[in-house]
Amino acid sequence: MRRRLTRLGMGLAAVAAAATTLTACGTGGGTTGNGTGPITFASGKDLTGAMPQLLAEWNKLHPDQKVTFIELSASPDDQRNSFVQDLQARSGKYDVMWDDVVWTSEFAAHGWLEPLDKAQVGGPDVLPAAVDTATYQGKMYGAPFMTNSALLYYRSDLVPKPPTTWAELQADCAIAKAHDMACYVGQFAQYEGLTVNAAEAITSAGGSFLSPDGSKVTVDSPQARAGLQHLVDMFRSGNIPAAALTYQEQESANAFVTGKAMFLANWPYVYTAASAAGSAVQGKFGMAQLPGPNGPGIASLGGIDLGVSAFSKHKQTAKDFVAWMQSESSQRVLVKVMNQASVLTKLYTDPDLTKASPYLPTLQKAELTAVPRLKTPNYNAVSLAIQKNVYAALQGKVSVDGAVKQLAADLQQAISAA
């Protein structure tokens, strides 16, 4: 045990040393050669089947630096567990990891990620908000690969124009009532998606959970209360159905696609299912920015950064690979085949791509104002605290005021845990 601890200490020291000595070829201490060679790339479940094809491209170009694809679970929590466990063991099994934007700070703080060259992966053609998600304490620890922000799906056959404010949204709910359907659904089960939805309501109202550097708790404010109050009111009036307390992305998308809900807040991916044959809303829906208190709201930024493991044996190849994944040719595959949103600004207005995904310009608008979710090495504990207290308020178990007070206390505990 003791020996393991010293080894851990030495390992961390080595990482720190590696991070400070920027050798010409970018390899840290202990690796041999010039840091090139075969690597592995681990991602979440690839539901489109396009990832292997994309990687085959790279392998054609770099026969002696082949990348092996490791497909992990579809659940982000399980993906994170896989990465964390491997990184703690310092095994370097995953050279390049697909990091949800909220993990980057945590992994970087632990010294698990290799710092990357901002000029290479954070240039001016990359969305600034996406670059921000990959930045921790002034350095970039990931190459933004795809981005995501929630949009409002609405039934264009029932509402003439999408609501831009919360008041308009509530007024429109009368139409849903008349059609005997739920008005608004999102992700309100007690899981990561609730943090996203709560953050959207609270930041739209001008509140925040933590200070930008993650060092102070700022949630105890009238603005945060107003944001949470909005969600609570929507539940209380039945405009968000009680069943939404069990909804994750899948269930909420289902409610909309089967015609049981008039509004849906969700990631852009639902577009495909909603416009597919057999969908109850085919040709009857539109997409807009989320509403806010006095105009379009602020969406939470999701997405994926590609991180290079600090324990990789072939860091140079890994760095070249993440840069290649960000290149225009790869990003086109991402948008066209995988139906995801690119991190490259110019691909949002590309006529070839907007034909397949007409919502891209709207999404770009949303992403320009989107805020990254919290940046803190204790993200998991922070998110759990948010989920617990917001959920209790939505259920009506505690008052908004009580929930915010308790949340402030829990967040304080979460960020001071070290």
């Binding site: 045990m1 601890l5 010293t6 851990l8 200490g9 961390l12 929590d77 994170r80 567990n81 964390v84 466990q85 703690q88 703080a109 632990h110 010294g111 089960a189 007690q190 899981y191 009680a242 069943a243 307390l245 069990t246 090495p377 204790n378 998991n380 504990a381 759990l384 959920y391 259920q395 178990k397 505990q413 845990a417 070290a418």
Partner: protein
Amino acid sequence: MSVRTGDSRAFVPRASTRRERASGRKENDGRFAFWLVVPAILVLTVVIGYPVIAALVRSLFSDPIASAPRFIGLDNYFSALWGVNSGKFWDSVGVTYFFAAVTIVLETAIGLGMALVMNQAFRGRGLLRGVVLVPWAVPTAVAAVLWKWSFDPVGIINALTGSHVVWTGSDWPSKAAIVIADTWKTSPFIALLILAGLQIIPGEVYEAAKIDGAGAFQRFRLITLPLVRPALLVAILFRLLDTLRMYDLPAILTHGANDTTTLSILVVQATLNELKPGFGGALSTLTFLLIFVTAYAFVRLLGVNAVEAQIGGGRGGKR
């Protein structure tokens, strides 16, 4: 109250007689037995002894983010028992014991009822035994997914009852869903254990009681219950150990939301999600202690002696 019953004759259809150990035993059994038992003990030492001690040691260290863990003594335990994490810990203890108590009471009641029915003579008893084993054979993970689907807001339970309960959206319905799922899966199993106890009660005893004018309820209270009690208590003890470790059902059905975070879920959360092996080690050690103390108290209070039961009432006879 010591009823001596025969030992298991699963495959040898002969009259049960309590058999002393075969004669001709030599005193050098000891060494031979040692070599037979040691491999199993060694294996268990590796897979259980080492991890438990490692967790205990690790629980005395802190969980910093970017530095080496420091020795902090019992701080992790204090934080769980009455410090910043005590709320979480005691909530989980409450949830775990709640599930244990409610499921065991329900499963025992239903199991006893089933066993009494199955103990009657009718055609197709063997088939019924097979049917009763079906819920037990369904993997808990599959059962959890099945019940999650049934308890969906638009699932079959609400459709059949015409209600709109959001089962996994608030505390008590969530707990009820887990209790129902567990009861379905395990009551039949308890029924089989009790049935085995019932089948060794000779029919003549009932006949005699009938002649003495005992009614059905009296016969149940005065004969069935006392005679089946030992089998019942052992079954309950095993269920107690199982329910206090409950993980699969709530982990899949509710992900621990709505106040269904059992101790096992809390430990996994702390270690694998929050990356706090020290605190997680403290939690798992506390969990083990709780289970151990509960089982010990149960055995002491109710006089179940599973070990003796295993020895088949032998206690090695006379030395």
